[in-house]
Amino acid sequence: MRFQKLAAAVAASGGAIALALFAASPAIAQTTGATSYQANLQALNNSGASGTLMVTLNGSQATITEHTSGLAATFSGNPYPHVQHIHIGAKGTCPTTAADMNSDGVISTTEGGPSYGAIGTTLSTSGPTTPASGTVLNIAPSGASFDYSRTITLDAATLASIQANTGVIVVHGLDPATLSAKAQAEKSDLVPALPLAATSPALCGALVASQTSSVPTGGAATGAGGTSQTQHNVELLGVALLAGSVALLGARKLIPALTRS
């Protein structure tokens, strides 16, 4: 009788374990108020660079994901800092060569202004994102290609401009060797201590509504592990329990000899 009760208890707990293993945890749907925009970044000033930037707005919070490649790689032996901004409040377009007012072969940041406007937000890697931090080199992403990802809070002017389709992404910093002799000798229109190449636009792209109206963050939790290698630990446990049973039966045979003495 006792054994039957024990067996029943073991079977019941085994059933509970099996149920727990099979149970799924369904996800709960949630509407999103977030809206995504995208800029196809194209070369300016023959930089040869390219890139894509996506920004998802949730209120004034902006989640930015960007990939660039083909930019100038080094500056004085160090990774080339590429200051980048959301320019706002103008036509919402990228300049053409017609914008090169002084005919030095380079569309400077100032010359591009009528197309893309002033700096609204600085896309720095850390710290401030204000227009005033727009030329701070040590918080700019750097190198020939980079993946930039940051969530920041936008000011009202930048937000309004993006929503009015006049937000433009501009990534700065040219290889001086690609400039005309005249342009190589010029000072930056933004930071006179720097050469013109350092602050001139290399990539430009107007922010437009994304085809994916709200881009989710991160990957997808699309697996529960039932076919992964770790699941085989269940079988190992079973083998261990059976081995314990055999060992006990073996020990049981020794018990009379032990208790008799």
């Binding site: 085809q211 697996g223 055999v246």
Partner: protein, 220 residues
């Protein structure tokens, strides 16, 4: 009748425990064995890291065969998805976002889902579908996604009754920590499809796979 309290002899106790262990061990083995499956297939080109299989500026090297009916359609949500080469046939549930901004996943392990804040299949842009690679007990609807090859067909039937066919152009595995948001969700100049499931190592502490497998396709 003598009133001697019954006491188990050591032999009986040992036998009892042996039987308990035998029953528990057998039950565990049965559970383990019935749930046993070979690990899901990995993509043939499962190299980690960034690829740009979808960038409009770098078109796929794999030529898209058959009739070039790549005219984009208007919006109509998907109702059915089939991938004959890996034996997938599924109705479609709509997926939104979780509270933390990540993509929702199907509540059933055996039904594929479509991301409703993206384009519908056949519209210009990336149409995103998710399916589980496995449940806690066996294969899920996208268990064999990693076995897809370039050129394999994906057929989606839409609510308007039209069926659109996509050809697979690339299959990649990415660490979730570096999920290629741009490659998957960025605008495309033609109708495209992305099929997403889990892959790589399973973290038994968090109960999540560490990677995602993504199959990219283009309307044909």
């Amino acid at each position: 009748m003598r009133n001697v309290p019954r006491r188990w002899s050591p032999r009986t106790a040992a036998a009892t425990f042996a039987i308990i262990l035998a029953v528990a061990g057998t039950a565990t083995l049965i559970v383990g064995y019935t749930e046993r499956h070979t690990p899901p297939p990995r993509p043939a080109d499962a190299a980690a890291g960034r690829t740009q299989p979808t960038s409009p500026s770098t078109p796929h090297t794999k030529p898209v065969p058959t009739t070039p009916t790549t005219t984009a359609l208007g919006a109509s949500p998907p109702v059915d998805l089939s991938i004959p080469s890996i034996g997938v046939r599924s109705s479609i549930v709509e997926l939104g976002q979780n509270a933390d901004g990540t993509i929702e996943v199907p509540s059933s392990f055996h039904v594929a889902g479509w991301y409703k804040y993206g384009v519908t299949p056949g519209q210009n842009g990336p149409s995103v579908f998710l399916g589980h690679v496995d449940s806690m007990s066996g294969p899920g609807i996208f268990y064999r996604l990693g076995a897809l090859h370039p050129g394999d067909h994906v057929r989606v039937t839409r609510q308007d009754g039209r069926t659109v066919t996509f050809a697979i152009t690339g299959i990649r595995q990415y660490a979730k920590s570096t999920f290629p948001t741009i490659d998957v969700y960025a605008n495309t100049t033609v109708p495209t499809i992305r099929l997403v499931t889990c892959g790589g190592a399973f973290d038994s502490a968090t109960h999540h796979y560490l990677s995602n497998i993504v199959a990219f396709g283009q309307l044909i």
